[in-house]
Symmetry: C2
Subunit: 337 residues, 2 copies
Amino acid sequence: MLDDRKLAVLRAIVEDYVSTNEPVGSRALVDRHNLDVSPATIRNDMAVLEEQGYIVQPHTSAGRIPTDKGYRLFVDKLSAIKPFSAAERRAIETFLAGAYDLDDVVMRTVRLLAQLTRQVAVVQYPSLSKSAVRHVELVPLTERRLLLVLITDTGRVEQRVVELPASFDEDSIMHLRAVLNACLDGRKLTEIASVVAELPERVEPRERANAAAVFSVILETLVARHEEKIIVGGASNLTAADFSQGLREVLEALEEQVVLMRLLGESDDQSSVTVRIGAENDVLGLRSTSVVAAGYGSADRPLAKLGVVGPTRMDYPTAMGAVRAVARYTGQILAES
Amino acid sequence: MLDDRKLAVLRAIVEDYVSTNEPVGSRALVDRHNLDVSPATIRNDMAVLEEQGYIVQPHTSAGRIPTDKGYRLFVDKLSAIKPFSAAERRAIETFLAGAYDLDDVVMRTVRLLAQLTRQVAVVQYPSLSKSAVRHVELVPLTERRLLLVLITDTGRVEQRVVELPASFDEDSIMHLRAVLNACLDGRKLTEIASVVAELPERVEPRERANAAAVFSVILETLVARHEEKIIVGGASNLTAADFSQGLREVLEALEEQVVLMRLLGESDDQSSVTVRIGAENDVLGLRSTSVVAAGYGSADRPLAKLGVVGPTRMDYPTAMGAVRAVARYTGQILAES
DNA sequence: ACTTGGCACTCTGGCTAGCCGAGTGCCAGG
DNA sequence: CCTGGCACTCGGCTAGCCAGAGTGCCAAGT
């Protein structure tokens, strides 16, 4: 259907358009890339590409620009992920290695990714549903209130206030704490539901009411609606690419945790880099953006996702390279701790 | 210097310009507000106001717009903070009351503030330096690593990884934990420095090396550089007001924690609402924005700051009203827990 | 002394017309 | 199948113009 030269033409169009942000014409193409044919030939090729929906012209007698479909073909067949040089990788590694806790790792990751790609970076905290419990702590707040603190093996710390039906004494808390730690330690959060169900038997009858309150908080807020935390950085990079449809919608979408989850979550393949182009993100308001995402974590233990969001007119090879490299190193850092 | 009518004119100019975003001329003024004088009179007044630096005209023969100095006078003398209706206050209260932990309170606050003012909202977490320790927890991670978790009375939870010089056993950790809790519980973080200095005496000699590592982490990361956490919301509201100087700078500034701290921190008066207009924020890049901020927390116990950032052309009375109301209720909610 | 109406002046913004250049599509010939 | 040529179509730029808004100043009125 499309011979080699036509594909080369498409690739050239994408590359030129990404770097210049201007519709690219037949003449410019033969000049910039060394295609050994005349502009007229290119024009014929472009006519075919347009007919097939890979490119369009904004107005009659302007150059062509790629469509979502064009970018898709480019990403799938015409480009290779740009690998990072040794120096760059070392820079990434040392930058991330300086972090002193999970919050810091995530913050550094998002900053780094934004800076490397000059796009908006999005990083999800290690998913609760994939984490295991390392420690549970109960801290008395007032007469009838406890602070439940749950620490996971990825270093994430979750806290919830528990309202108790009855007042409590130090001893019963100690006991409850011991029971919780004994039973939950090392368990994945996804397994906890069943474990907790059996717990009531293991506490004194007179403490059951309070214990039940604690258990239900664990189940409700930590397991059932396993809340995922996502942070965004580099929003100022959005101003560089002038969006056809308002910048406003994009910013709004990026403030919605739910939307972000969908953006990252949709990528099915856990290990490698996935790209969603334009309308492929069925999020209204992000129709003119692309998402490059990857999972991070060690191979045997995926933790969560991270990625960048930018205009469809994006330097995909570089972005994919950066996302892959950062995901890799972030996974490493977290595995070590 | 400025008689009553001139002040009224300035007020009218500010109000009109804020609502229309267009330079306001003498005719429009007499029409919209019921000043019982002719446009010519207004023109004379405006000439004086311009000479004194309260207003300028963007080009010859356009209307006038207020200068920073003009807004300053308006805020100080010509406007009253717009109080919220009972219904509005009730809405705020119920919205905030639904929160179930500190993170949630802060998140709701920032959302609420952004929505009420249609500006960018900025909320600082309860300041560590003003918090007291409620509980300290040590969780073993690996052979040589501990996770130090510190819970404050404002519900804030801080965590740090501690690298130990020697391996440890369960007992020594238990002991250290007990010592820490006994000595630090209830202490303000600012007092801790002196307390920690005396601690080494209270641990067994053979545990001193590890204990010292823990102490130094407490001092370094929690006390010395008492890190303040700030979150931002409603950035999409920036797109409404088209900034003279790039939106980019503003977004960049809002991503810098340090800058945000300065913005909020500068306000000296703890209790009431303070306003910084344009160049009064000596942050480069925020020269064309104003900051309306207030402290929150109960009267006897200030916790931190919150506020909104918007174009100098801002509805100050409403913004001040919203900031005051939200600060008040957030303070209340946190005092209760 | 302040206010007022009148008047001349100065801009900006929008509109139109016209030109240039870039780029295309098509066609006939190699 | 490629190529050069050619007519055609637009977008963007410039120039010129007009209308409208707004001002500053002045002389007269209260």
